[in-house]
Point group: D2
Chain length 438, copies 4
């Protein structure tokens, strides 16, 4: 059963191509620093937006035209969606995907029954993975959509909901393990609060940590060696989400002794909702050894909610890939397109067009970032800028050899300080432009 026979496998045709179904910048085999482009980028398809996204928004009903969704039996439909997912990935040459448990299989009356159906679908996915060599970047569980999670999952005031969430994640870990997932993500969903007037924040955070410890323990028990990630987001759906941003999550992991077991999965749109740049979030995580994987999308900085747009800003993609190169590339992680076609891009072909746009954007960004990194433009400037810490009093400072008294004496004995140097922001921004448009 094929749905995209009218479109051949997407090929790299170069930047002059007018073919909407061709890559202009993404040449999977192009070698960059001795590694093919595709292994730098590790693109992943997000099952939820792509296969189950209906084009609903808070004021409107479904718009998406998906002929495969006309199948009325939910389990049959779920199986066909698996085929569509793999057909799309094959067309695009994507080698990874990500999912929530409830994306791939519909919930049933009981958890036992839900798990049974889930296994049935997982078997189909397993087959397709074998057939195509496509891999699972990470799995996760949907602990936010069902009404039972109205007050949170592991942070619910209702202990039964905590228990249910544990049972659900147990199964999600098992299927992720079965599918050889390279990672498992926790996205807070409703782990947060609507108003402090009714919230015991301390207990909720403690319970959240307990839950994650249980997950780590269970992973060990079943031999799952994939990387655990937490995905920060500041708000939406709850007013305040506990995993606000990278700093908050890193703080939480340290405080609860989870820092050895978790890295971060950082999303562009979540970064900007927290009023950070994406590269701030990446840098902070990377500098502390927490940068794991990336949800590649973009938000609209003039809007206050998560728009999850396909990434088309080349300058932003450049800065992201620069951080990835700077940390030596992905290990377990990759670039997952946590992005949905606009509500008005409702044809099935728009799914391909949007992914091509995103992949080309990141491919262009990678090329530009690689040139920047190769020429060490920014790094050379940094070395020059901070050189005073490699000698004299600066060296003493970073080697912890001096305190206030010594530094005060140093200043008192010096007639004038070394002059400051300009920050050169405008110049650096214009250099980036030169690297970008050539």
């Amino acid at each position: 059963m094929h749905f995209y026979d009218h479109i051949p496998k997407i090929q790299y045709e170069g930047s002059k191509s007018l073919n909407p179904f061709a890559f202009k910048y993404y040449d999977p085999k192009e070698m960059i620093f001795g590694k093919p482009m595709k292994d730098h980028l590790k693109f992943s398809l997000a099952y939820w937006h792509t296969l189950t996204g209906e084009g609903i928004d808070p004021f409107g009903k479904a718009t998406m035209e998906r002929e495969w969704d006309t199948i009325t039996d939910p389990i049959e439909r779920a199986k066909v969606r698996v085929k569509v997912a793999f057909e799309l990935m094959e067309k695009l040459g994507m080698e990874y995907f990500c999912f929530h448990d409830r994306d791939i299989a519909p919930e049933q009356e009981t958890l036992a029954e839900t798990n049974r159906v889930l296994d049935e679908i997982v078997a189909v996915i397993e087959q397709e993975m074998k057939r195509t060599q496509i891999k699972l970047l990470w799995g996760t569980a949907n602990l936010f959509a069902n009404k039972r999670f109205v007050n949170g999952a592991s942070t619910s005031p209702n202990a039964d909901v905590f228990a249910y969430s544990a049972a659900q994640v147990k199964k999600a870990l098992e299927i992720t393990h079965r599918l050889n997932g390279a990672g498992y993500v926790f996205w807070g969903g409703r782990e947060g609060y609507e108003t402090l007037l009714n919230t015991d924040m301390k207990l909720e955070l403690d319970n959240f940590a307990r839950f994650l410890h249980m997950a780590v323990d269970y992973a060990k028990e079943i031999g799952f060696l994939g990387q655990f990630y937490i995905e920060p987001k500041p708000k939406e759906p709850t007013k305040h989400q506990y995993d606000f941003d990278s700093a908050t999550v890193i703080s939480f992991l340290h405080q609860y002794g989870l820092d050895k077991d978790f890295k971060l999965n950082i999303e562009t749109n979540h970064a900007t909702l927290a009023t950070h740049t994406m590269n701030h979030e990446l840098r902070l995580a990377a500098d502390n050894g927490f940068l794991g994987s990336i949800d590649a999308n973009q938000g609209d900085l003039l809007l206050g909610w998560d728009t999850d747009q396909f990434p088309t800003s080349i300058v932003d993609a450049t800065l992201v890939m620069y951080e990835v190169l700077r940390m030596g590339g992905f290990t377990t992680g990759g670039l997952n397109f946590d992005a949905k076609v606009r509500r008005a891009s409702f044809t099935k072909d728009d799914l391909l067009i949007a992914h091509i746009a995103g992949m080309d954007t990141y491919a262009a960004g990678l090329r530009i970032a690689a040139k920047l990194w190769k020429d060490q433009v920014l790094e050379t400037n940094l070395k020059q800028r901070y050189r005073s810490y490699t000698q004299g009093i600066g060296k003493d400072i970073v080697e912890n050899k001096v305190g206030f008294k010594e530094l005060s004496a140093y200043v008192m004995n010096k007639n004038t300080l070394e002059p400051n140097e300009p920050g050169k922001q405008e110049w650096l921004e214009s250099i980036i432009n030169q690297y970008m448009i050539g």
Copy 2:
């Protein structure tokens, strides 16, 4: 030399008073939970805004009419300002104040000379403190206004600037100690960055931590036992300030082994610039033992910068005082009015009027919060809401007796989960209103 002889000491006249120079809600001696109102609130005057604020904004020059500022000799002017500060505090019955080193005395050609003048002014302050029994809530150093701090102070790329900052804070600690300050605050100022393109964030954060360790060491050396605080702020003056919010600061303190030596000084306007409510910031800090002191002001949520307005929102003040009561009251900290009269409130009498407005707002907030706390309205609701964690499976969870397997088995064996209970947000908000307007 007096400047407010035309206005008698501000008295409590009750809520019906039409006298602009009277308290309507602040009755310093009114007993609440066995403690006079004034000791719950511990109001502090902010030297910078009140004595050196000129009414400048990015598009306009000074507007403030201060007859004492017509004195042309800067050192004489500085001395007279001390008198004005204490005259204002006496009129208002405020028992605390806070300052930056450069607020109280003008900078001179050399640091040595600056320190000499500083000592001269500190002597005047000392005298006034003795005369009035007014106390120093905390001191700090201004490491952001002078051009030398253009790229930061302890996070400057210029080691000489780090050294200079150390020398300056050394002195600031000494005078704070001399004046028996109950605390010392670090506000990041320019500890942050404008663009990551030219920033070595890791080195800068390491240096920031080194600097704080040096401060702790030096405090021990001179016998200063006051509390150290860090004051979070997300942005402004720099694009990204390292002390973004409470979570970020707590993370930093833990990571660099500074958590035993520092608490937080939390400001309302900084909280909202970080897109948090003030009570979120307070609760987070308090739950982790980091809530030290408060900068009582308010921002304008429709504006994107630090407006530092005098607090006039009674509902906000209620929620702040509720957190203070909840943690058992201030120890070393207090309520510092980090607030400036509006640029158009330029008469010297406006200084009194604005402080009266702020003090009355917090006094009203305290009364309402005390009633709420006494009746345990919110706490009783919380206990009920989270009761499932005090028994059965919930108790097992918080006592870490169960893991995913046990919880999964529990769920599988249970036909239906305990139902969720409604969050009651609208009801709780209307209760607060009833407590507020009676």
Copy 3:
């Protein structure tokens, strides 16, 4: 068929009442300026949130527990919802309601069939209105939820969608007329754009105006004398909505010759999403004769989307009611609760509690605003502040008797200007507090 027999009609019990099902401030018959409270406030129930709101959000499914929604036949369910709506209004003593066509009756296969079913439900509403004397504040049409409106309704690039919208509004006008509606509202919905890259803004705005002219013409033809309103909103669902704010709408109405036929329906949450205060929007509209009706809710200024919360801020309600009193009260308009219970307030009783909270908030606001207006505190201050325009050169200015030359000569001949007076913002805010908490 009753659903609230367990709760008696909500009574005014005064501010000390602990009964959640009683009014603490809303005393419908209390006379204020010779008019009962209820006629100042003219509360209206919003059919959509209250009867058809399911508690869905972008990340979660329905949470609301509504036993009447278990009825499986959509038309039967629609009829029962009418009963529930009127039962709720009777319990609350609300005398008005508002609806969209698709709230009250489900859409059918064809427009003809949809209209037939609509008429069937309208007949039930008519009966209930007759029985209870409850009135229709305004009607409107839902031109945004159905997939056909994905690119807008009257601003769709598809002329057939324009035509369909016309047909739908034609019917909505007819039923509003039949139910003797005092007004008819246009809310832009998807009248706006997602990206200018694919938008002919000029044509779309021209078409929008054409559509409104057709509505005016058709209203005349059928004898509908109710007031037309436009409801501004800056964004969401579309990135940019054409009816951004009051100024934009007033501009549009003037430009297209619609200013005689339309007033504004202004919503608090929409005002703040446009970064305006609600009283700015009200004042601007009122000063220009465009203030018609109000959607009483509140947003969360720390969130970037339309939260449509029940209004619980008394200070905000005071400022709204002050503007209403200032313009002499509502004529055709009223206070419509365009507010939804929080997703976690999912019991049917929460519907009553939330409405009581909103009604009490506005009742308290009205009382405070009435005292302020009676005492003319703000007005007296204004007269004093602007008095220079009632005499001398100021009078010449407002009477258009002078130009640049005369004013320049006046200034040149004057040694010093009259001094500016302080703005007194802090004092005015503290006065409002005194009026609020007494």
Copy 4:
């Protein structure tokens, strides 16, 4: 007296140049649509930021190193600044500049004396203009910095301040006329309010309009034929500025009969502070015949204030130049760099580097926009998208031949509507990328 002898006139060296003092994209004589690049762009130097900007921010003192500012006599300094301004423009090959009256000459004790000094400086400017053929794009008056404007200028509650503002603008018009300015700008400055509690908005807006009418009258009287502009800005310095955005200003101009005499000067950073895209503001103004001139800068969408950065976003510059090409190019207006070097870019050479960055950004944007316009990519897509309005029922609609009844009949008789077409946002964004990076 020269200050930039160490740097030769900036030349176009092409995109591979590593010379910081060369243009990479701006080739002034390159012909585009039969007109040299320089005449499309009409770059203008902003006297305020460039000559009088000191690098002050709300928390910090001056940082800029300007050897010419060591001259102590203010009038001499003002004259030397004129030389610097023209030396900079000559180095950059800029043919236009803009100024406020108070930028070019310091204020004196009396207005008469201020005007005398102003004339003295204007004479120097006149000479330089003659020498270099550089032209005045527009002049304006600074009605916001001086303390007298604390409550506004033409909207001040103090009639004397209105008179003073009139006298000041009279003179500013005269010198703009003398220097053959192509335009005159009104930027609201403090024409707005801080709180409605003390504001008579109606009187203030009436007075604002009176003031503008006086300006128009006086311009006629003295024969000034330049274009008048209003520059929208939503907030800062005042909480609410009356000239919020393009729609608000256009509304105001229509309402007060000023629409024939004024166009708009639109600034990128002001657009985004109003939560609009710059191209929204431009399109709206252009579609209504109000697009006059542009302040080319950029803001930081993650910050809430006016950062006035030099424009370095090529995609934004492309969209701006697209709108300019679409309206047929500038007539009286141009691209004025209302941008300041970052506070840390404090050397005099940074002034050149920043302007080069800005000019190159817009030159690149122009080239890309010209290719897009030449190929009519967007326009062709638009024609296709809206084609239903050129025939059948759509044609009837735009020709106003049908009303609700006809349209309803049309829909009732049609079995199915014409299907909607996808919006293609992702595809259009990727097309822009292809045009941008080639």
